[in-house]
């Protein structure tokens, strides 16, 4: 799971948050300090193979 910083109290907003051992991720998510990164899919449509 990848986390993104949402508060400057944790780090630079927009950067990935890499938790140290012992960090309570649930509390950070609940407090809005970080969010889970949503993976964006490529808009490219796979074309059918040419025969």
């Amino acid at each position: 799971m990848k986390y993104i910083i949402q508060s400057d109290k944790v780090g630079k907003i927009g950067d990935e948050f890499i938790p140290d051992d012992g960090i309570n991720i649930g509390a950070l998510l609940e407090g809005g300090f970080i969010s889970t990164a949503t993976e964006t899919k490529s808009s490219k449509v796979k074309s059918e193979p040419k025969e």
């Binding site: 508060s7 400057d8 109290k9 944790v10 948050f17 938790p19 140290d20 051992d21 012992g22 960090i23 309570n24 649930g26 509390a27 950070l28 609940e30 407090g31 809005g32 300090f33």
Partner: protein, 132 residues
């Protein structure tokens, strides 16, 4: 003469990776190794030996219910374990004290007195102590 007057010497205070240094007015970080009695018959004085570490960090924070402040940081930590980090800078020396996996038993959610800034006193207990 050795003195430590705290003005801006506390350079870092994080609870669960969230910086609370701008809300803190007091921090006490205590490294404790429990004292176990080892006195036996025949001894004329009490003797003690070291037991387990039982560390503690207490702090006083201004209460703030605003986004990303005191309440938002601590509310979900009650009854769980987390990390607390405090750094002190004294001249060219910086010491960073860490409690890893310490437990927050209680959080005063309202501490209201007429005409005063609200503060909360919290205590983290246990955890592994380290200094760097």
């Amino acid at each position: 003469m050795a003195t430590s007057t705290y003005l801006s010497n506390l350079t870092t205070l994080t609870v669960n990776a969230v910086s609370l240094v701008d809300q803190a007015t007091n921090v006490v970080f205590t490294n404790t190794k429990e004292q176990l009695e080892a006195t036996a018959f025949g001894d004329t004085s009490r003797k003690y030996t070291a037991g387990l570490f039982n560390n503690e960090c207490t702090m006083t924070l201004y209460q703030s219910y605003a986004t990303s402040e005191t309440y938002a940081t601590l509310a979900a930590l009650v009854g769980t374990t987390t990390n607390v980090v405090a750094s002190i800078t004294d001249g060219a020396v910086t010491k960073t004290f860490t409690l890893t996996g310490c437990y927050l038993e209680a959080l005063p959610v309202i501490n209201a007195s007429l005409g005063e800034l609200s503060t909360v006193d919290i205590t983290f207990t246990g955890g592994v102590y380290s200094v760097a």
